[in-house]
Symmetry: C2
Subunit: 168 residues, 2 copies
Amino acid sequence: MARDPDQSASGGHAEAHRHAIDADAVQSRARAYATSKGIPFTAMRQRVLGLLAASGKPMAAYEIAEKLSDARRVQAVQVYRALEFLQEAGCVHRLASQSAYFACDHLHGSGEMVVFMVCSQCGAVQEAASDLVARGLRGVAKTTGFKPLHPIIELEGECADCTSEPVG
Amino acid sequence: MARDPDQSASGGHAEAHRHAIDADAVQSRARAYATSKGIPFTAMRQRVLGLLAASGKPMAAYEIAEKLSDARRVQAVQVYRALEFLQEAGCVHRLASQSAYFACDHLHGSGEMVVFMVCSQCGAVQEAASDLVARGLRGVAKTTGFKPLHPIIELEGECADCTSEPVG
DNA sequence: CATGGAATGTAATAATATAACAGGCGCCAT
DNA sequence: ATGGCGCCTGTTATATTATTACATTCCATG
Ligand SMILES: [Zn+2]
Ligand SMILES: [Zn+2]
Ligand SMILES: [Zn+2]
Ligand SMILES: [Zn+2]
């Protein structure tokens, strides 16, 4: 079956409530970004990205710090620093509606407008880049003379899995 | 000139950087909502809405508390309580990208998907309801079996005024 | 080895938001 | 009227999210 050209979701297959990311792929992208910028892909950055990729779901910064703490306590500020790098690298997104962060294994174009669909029940996030949405947004912006630089498009709702399995 | 049917912005007229809301109209709507729910449109709620309407720009909750404080100090928690009511009443929106709140004098349909355009320079917010965007979003949701309940659509960028007057 | 830029570790603090609870006020059924 | 009940208020405390400041360490380079 051909893929719908107006959609490129990160989940949607048969795994039912497991949406872990391809950790190797995303780590490679982060490493490549670091190299291209001449900055190191440090252990802390790897640990944060690894955790997010394994989790497959959005996590709060303090939750990440908590999980990464062993003998030595990882402070939230260290997590925020790593997240900053990872977001620049395009490997992690921030959910404004939840103040949470999640790993992404897509390669987004620079002008692309991506929709985050966040399930209120299970917390899973699916991404979809919609050309129709992008055209609509650029349309309303143009009408009012507004120059859009950074779109935030989030749908809170219920994912397919949770709709079919009401409570779990 | 006829209004573009795919656009209904809250600013965009000739006032240049002043976007104060019709305070009377929005207060009336809040009052009507309160009456319909059988709950009071209390002094605190009026004060918060009045301030936001007069300001015409997004304000942080603590900033509102600050401005409303006179002899007696208004605590943030009281502001949050008022904001909760005002958001239910549809008179105030929350900007997820800024954790800020602003008054709205539109009457939004229940399934409507509204775009908030936030100017990084001057902080002004314009709203536009786009049918094209709504169709696009419902499209990507449907493709992945996602049931959207609460959309958050924010464009950070530069408004027409600030584009023409680069620094101010 | 010296040095400068970047990342780290640590502490403190700012900014945003909610919880908990006592008291007051209006409304309504007794 | 009066007592109960629901909602709002005032107040304090706490939770959650994010940033600032600064001394130290690491490391590539000269
Ligand atoms: Zn992505
Ligand atoms: Zn779900
Ligand atoms: Zn509105
Ligand atoms: Zn502007």
